[in-house]
């Protein structure tokens, strides 16, 4: 069962494999985002309550979903790196962290921009907003720890441990923030209070979501390739690659 996975422990093979995947992800993301965003921003019906400002939903929600899934993905990669001593898994966790942080920031900023017309304020201490903010802190901690080490292999391991500790904490934090919110301020402005979405809003959302997901995949592949190169910069195959590039 593991036989087909085995060659990918070799950085060189994985590097070239990732290189082949990258254009696919990039083009898929460009096509899906082009269709999805045009559809969402120009043709999808406006919300009957929120009007046009509802359209930020098509960026905000994919970013929020991805920000959380990227953290889980990073923790899974870090865990397999720790348990099976896969160096490349550590590298992929390191590649994912900044991407996740950026998507968390996008979710927060678009959320604030959406909150201003809807709730009349940029920020409320709503449970979801607060836990998203804490998620951003967790990402920044992982990134800062990763940058603090000179040796990238060690950095990957240390950041991986922190990511795993963080992923155990995320449900606790989320739950505690929700409780804190209900205790301290009662029911605030309710979030998206509406039943299932209609199909003509749902389809552009799906396009946008998968467009952003493939965008994450493409960017992560690029970062992953860079990580592999920087960790193996003394290897002959990397030197050969560089020589070819210079010619």
């Amino acid at each position: 069962m593991w036989k087909w996975l085995h060659p990918y422990a070799n950085p060189e093979i994985t590097y070239h494999f990732t290189g082949k995947l990258t254009p696919w992800f990039t083009w898929l993301s460009i096509i899906l985002l082009a269709i999805g965003l045009t559809w969402a921003l120009l043709f999808a019906p406006a919300d009957y309550q929120q009007g046009e400002s509802f359209r930020i939903f098509y960026i905000h929600v994919p970013a929020a979903i991805l920000s959380m899934s990227i953290y889980v993905g990073m923790a899974i990669a870090a865990f397999s790196g720790l348990v099976w001593q896969l160096k490349l898994a550590d590298a992929s966790a390191a590649a994912l962290a900044p991407v996740g942080a950026v998507f968390t920031a996008i979710a927060l900023i678009t959320g604030a921009a959406w909150g201003k017309p809807m709730w009349g304020t940029w920020w409320i201490w709503d449970a979801r907003l607060t836990s998203e903010l804490i998620l951003l802190f967790l990402y920044l901690g992982v990134i800062a720890l990763h940058n603090a080490f000179e040796d990238k292999a060690l950095a990957g391991k240390a950041a991986g441990i922190l990511a795993i500790v963080g992923v155990i904490n995320i449900p606790i934090i989320k739950y505690s923030v929700e409780w804190w919110n209900t205790l301290h301020q009662g029911a605030t402005v309710s979030k998206f209070g509406k039943p299932a979405m209609s199909a003509d809003m749902y389809w552009p959302f799906l396009f946008c979501f998968f467009g952003f997901a493939f965008f994450v995949a493409a960017v992560t592949c690029l970062r992953f390739k860079t990580e592999i190169l920087s960790r193996n910069s003394m290897r002959p195959w990397v030197k050969a690659l560089v020589k070819e590039e210079i010619k």
């Binding site: 804490i134 802190f137 603090a148 391991k157 240390a158 441990i161 922190l162 934090i173």
Partner: protein
Amino acid sequence: MMSINIPSYRQAFMLMLKRDLTIALRHKDDIFNPLLFFIIVVTLFPLGIGPEASTLSRIAPGIIWVAALLATLLSLDRLFKADFADGSLEQMMLIPQPLFIIVLAKIIAHWLITGLPLIFIAPVLAVLLHLNENSYGALMITLLIGTPVLSFIGAIGVALTVGIKKGGVLLSLIVLPLYIPVLIFATSAIDTAAMNLPYSGQVAIIGALFFTSFTLAPFAVSAALKVSTN
């Protein structure tokens, strides 16, 4: 043939605990400085916010807990730093007993040195902040169960950053977000107690956090120390 007497797990634990406590008692600054910091931080709040008793008693639980968090954070460094600097940490990792035991002893020693004194001084500060009379029990209980959690979680952060030269700020960036659940449940227990309502639910959750961190954190610390000492 010489037979080497290998101490049992319990003996190793007690030895480590005694060693760390002895070192701390000989450097009394380690005990008093975080305590002094705790007192000063709490004093700053009334000066910044104003002396009205009603305002102060409303925010007293938060102030005391945030100050306790910061004081713990400040004292975390001494957990592994000195041992790392003089090389004894690496020797400890070579001991035949599992690293888990050593780490557990060190964390408990750290809590006895820095967490426990906070609990004794906290009621005095609560008086200064006009904490609601019903809340004292909750304050003591949450501090008693909550500060060990801070030591356990903080130990993971220290173990990760001990090898880094300027680890101090990084440590707070890593550890403080993980402290949030303790802060939330502790202050909400104290607030609930002020309203004369039962606060056993919050205490139970802090207890759950305590046992989770008690059992899991030493493993994470051991793994992190192996990375840091490499």
